[in-house]
Amino acid sequence: MQVTLRVRRFDPEKDKRPHMQSFTVEAEPTDQVLDLLNRVKDYQDGSLTYRRSCGHGICGSDAMRINGRNRLACKVLVRDLGATITVEPLMGLAVIKDLVVDLRPFFEHYKSVMPFLVNDEPAPARERLQTPAQRLRYDDTTKCILCAACTTGCPSFWANGEYVGPAAIVQAHRFTFDSRDRAGAERLQILNDRMGVWRCHDIFNCTEACPREIEITKAIGEVKLAIATGRIE
């Protein structure tokens, strides 16, 4: 089948502002949107610019807006989109070129929430024990691949880029509810900030955008509850 691929282009060395460009591409219904982008880059316009790496939804490089929704280009197939497909860069972050956005603010927010396990008690010679139930408690938020689809789909983040955003809260959740961690209170204090969890208004865009199907709004709710009650459980 033939697909019309509409791409929002922007080359900072040439363009004053972004513009849409259409390409006609031969496609199979089972092709990924990433396959279409590759076909354009390989055979029509080598200057088309986007990030990609693993090609099967694990590395998180190719998050972009596809027909208005934040998706991974390698995890959405032509058969689910139809014959006209529009791809645009993620919103809320500066565009460097075409579909490539500046991720530095995203990773700065990530780093601000202590996204690592803290336990400075002497480690045993073997593993720290953790029951399957304790492990399950934070399982959902371990799946995050930091693709930025959630944060850049959040109206609160669009309104104010200082907001840490859902991805950072997901990371904070992953450690705060880990029975081995000892920095929960400190992390919750960071998030109990003007630019922390209270900017989340349960809009659920993040949950819908997540390619890993993490229940992000629920995780944020659990963090809010822990702050409100002072109990991590």
């Binding site: 336990n119 073997r126 371990t142």
Partner: protein
Amino acid sequence: MVHEVEVVIVGAGGAGLMAALHASRGARTAVLSKLYPVRSHTGTAQGGVCAALGSEEEDNPDWHAFDTVKGSDYLGDQDAIEFMCHEAVAAVYELEHMGLPFNRTESGKIAQRPFGGHTNNQTGRPVRRAAYAADRTGHMILQTLYQQCIRNQVTFFDEFQVLDLLLQNGAVCGVVAVELSSGEVHTFHAKAVIFATGGYGRVWEITSNAYSYTGDGMAVALRAGLPLEDMEFFQFHPTGIYKMGILITEGVRGEGGILVNDAGERFMERYAPRVKDLASRDVISRAMYLEMRDGRGIGGKRFLHLDVRPETVNRYAAVDGRTRPDGTAYRVTGPELLAKLPDIIDFCRTYLGVDPMTEPMPVQPTAHYAMGGIPTTKLGQVIADARNTLVPGLFAAGECACVSVHGANRLGTNSLLDLIVFGKMAGKQAAEFAQRESFLPLPRQPQAVTHERLARLRQADGRERAADLRRAMQELMFEHVGVFRTGDGMQQALASLAELRQRYQHVRAGDAGQVFNTDVLEAWELGCLLECAEVTTAAALNRTESRGAHAREDFPRRDDPNWLRHSLARQAPGGGVELEYKPVVITKYQPKERTY
């Protein structure tokens, strides 16, 4: 721009991050990566990282070492293998202490599952040795190491692609890199450099490897006049999704899944009567190839079925007399499988519209892992020749390196182990080296070679297109330098590769800009792939035997008297490939026939 740091690490996957954690404790360290670290290919590893923890049943590091030696078809260096398998236990606990969310046993220990080639050496039966986190073990390792790097304030240069290694009289003095966001070329003046750049599976048409797996570090080493070791050994993983190559973890078979042919037969019984579907990867890929060649592919096509439906798993577990650690019969339910293999089930639903709980998965062997690479000692120091001369200041770890612990065929889960054990060694050694040594002067024009290469890719006549050459290379390598090989096929491949390298001189990038010019970098990567392909083919053609992943139809037997040795391949000054050989280190495991 010139930066001065004591240790530069190139690559931010498992090996690079582990090296960074340890190097940064002793020296000023910077990590350069062409991707954001969390995009690295380590993240796609699924099934597990092995260590003889004995969480679930009796195990010990010596069994692990013997299994690895046997899996390597006796080409692995046994001193390095014993070292890795003994270090493994502490290394996996170190990951757990860093926060890695392993699955757990009922008593709270790290859970372990069986994997191909890992056995109880007394009974010969599969042993639970692979520590895992669902089918996301690589993702968890990558995330955990990155998290700890953030905690320890490691310095990163994200989206900096290294294009050249700087040497002075054979000793390291730095690297040259392009900053993607600006196109600016940077020089990093360093005392020590660690390459942790990963593999080169994009040489082949069907591969599980990321687009970014283009052999950059290996090609840069070749161009610096260094050799690559054992490049003829490249692993084809038995279970890639048909046509796409996406990996379906061996953990599926560890959980009881089986391979079947068009007649519905569990054909591995014929090829590996004892461990069947948990034989090592080279053995299974060859069996699949033979089944398909003889017309027993599904519907006569080039794929077979991987069946992990609960009723199938339970039927064959009963046939095999498989038990749980407590001695009761092994049985699974759909929800249990879903909890242990969520991602591969998601892949099948997303890309194939197939639900593995109710239908078998179509699979074919997929190019997966380089056993060969930049030769190193077991401390990560790079070796320049068959006499084991060290390259001062240069280190390598992970898939781009060849220690050699995998020999002719790697066992599943040993790659993640390799990353953490040897990444750590390389990091420590590089820091010690930097403390001991002073900076060597940079060459007068350190960026000259890089600018010249980039200029050529921007200014060539454009008669050839990178995508055409890439596709031609991938097809011919899959056809002639794949699971089975022949002398004639490889001769033909070598001639075609020489022609492709000529045509490559005419490739011009389609993007003339400076900012985030991925087109010029992908064209540069194609050059790396072509050079890795050439070295692989030349080393394979010269090895007139079959061993591990190198299977020749014209030389079907292993030939220890002539070929129990490592190859070292380097680019000859006038073109072509020069080969020399060095002996395999044998400690206590004498080579014998390898059956499963």
